[in-house]
Symmetry: C2
Subunit: 218 residues, 2 copies
DNA sequence: AATAATTTTTAGACTAGACTAAAAATTATT
DNA sequence: AATAATTTTTAGTCTAGTCTAAAAATTATT
């Protein structure tokens, strides 16, 4: 059994590993968890003893299979709770993360199994992120950042990169959300902004915004 | 904001106060939380500083109004989660307590408000215990221990005193549960056992069991 | 290859919350 | 009223998790 703090480290390392593929550095973990490198060193020694990860001094860390399964399970809980909050308790997608950060640490296998069936075995959370199954398998979906699309390419919005409340509320205001059809009408070389049509409506989108929206092309 | 540990102390003291009405002793708290008296002394000093309770050395403690409201809020969360687990997630009444002990510490006013309406503003938890409202008011119901009933008195089972899994599963096996009609047919002076009729079925019940079942007389 | 900059680890300190053992206060018993 | 038993507090220790400051190792730059 892991403490909340240990679980937060495991999850952070897992997320960092999905984007970097080599050993995760002490500093990267510290930044992600807004803690100090010295604290991270202490904790990764402990997690190494517990066979969650492999650690060699100055070399960064890599999760073991056990560590990956543990991480996937925490993420599964986090995302299922997010679905619950949105689908059943009238939360908006910008409100769920903070609460899910707490709920993901509740220990009860039955609870999470039952929650999963109560919600109808959802495949994705309110931000479009896939929900790992009980074995920790995480279905990867084919998606591209809007910013990488060429003129005249089109697709459906399937996810966001930035999940901050600020960004999500901005998307709400612009009526951009999961499932919306998006077509790149033009790209402006001057500031790399995009002229897009979203569900029939034309608008201009900054590069920063386009860099945080995932599209499944069609 | 209180830590989980602080919340557990506050709740324990609140529960002890409902049965004792004078200052709650260090030892009583230690026993309830299966911790040591010295740990309790440390914690009640802290809770006294935080205006949760009034503490004078060697005199035991009393919750302030603020402390009582805080306790009622934790109990509200605990019991609403228990309802959720039974009503929505197929938990039995002997399985919910352990998980509710964790869920009661989740911090989110919106979560608990929404959960309350999602459940249809339930008045009692799966063990028959009343659910405090948002202001911390706890409706008291007129109930008597089955062991205090006289011959020929009858009523409805509305609660249990012992909420251990063992006792609850025993009740399930005997088909005793909330809402069942119970009539005392006879009392046996030799061992203070009871001959009762429960929903039409006659059975003998030990004094120990009768001491843990609440009846609303009719 | 040497030096500078950066990253990582170590050493030592702090807090919350727990514990044991001993001292002090209270309560019960003679 | 004195003594014994019990309860409560204090003093000191421990662990988990964090921090700062300094030392050590690695990486980048000249
Ligand atoms: Mn989230
Ligand atoms: Mn999410
Ligand atoms: Mn309970
Ligand atoms: Mn209950």
């Amino acid at each position: 059994m892991f403490s909340q703090s240990e679980e937060n480290y495991i999850k952070a390392i897992y997320h960092l590993a999905t984007v970097s593929d080599k050993g995760i550095s002490t500093n990267a973990i510290a930044k992600k968890l807004t803690t100090k490198a010295s604290s991270v060193t202490d904790m990764i020694k402990k997690l190494s003893d517990k066979k969650v990860l492999v650690y060699k001094k100055y070399q960064g860390v890599t999760l073991t299979d056990f560590g990956k399964r543990t991480a996937a399970n925490i993420i599964r809980k986090h995302r299922l709770w997010e679905v619950f909050l949105v689908e059943k308790l009238n939360f908006t997608w910008d409100e769920v993360h903070e609460v899910a950060e707490q709920l993901e640490h509740i220990k009860s296998p039955k609870l999470i199994d039952e929650l999963d069936s109560f919600l109808g075995h959802p495949k994705r959370d309110p931000h479009g992120d896939p929900i790992p199954d009980k074995e920790g398998n995480l279905p990867q979906i084919q998606k591209s950042l809007l910013s990488t699309l060429e003129k005249n390419e089109k697709g459906v919005c399937v996810g966001v990169n930035d999940t901050s409340s600020e960004f999500l509320r901005f998307l709400d205001k612009q009526e951009i959300g999961l499932g919306k059809n998006i077509e790149v009408l033009d790209k402006e070389p001057f500031d790399d902004s995009f002229l897009v049509k979203i569900n029939g409506k034309e608008m201009t989108i900054s590069n920063k915004v386009a860099n945080n929206i995932y599209i499944q092309k069609n």
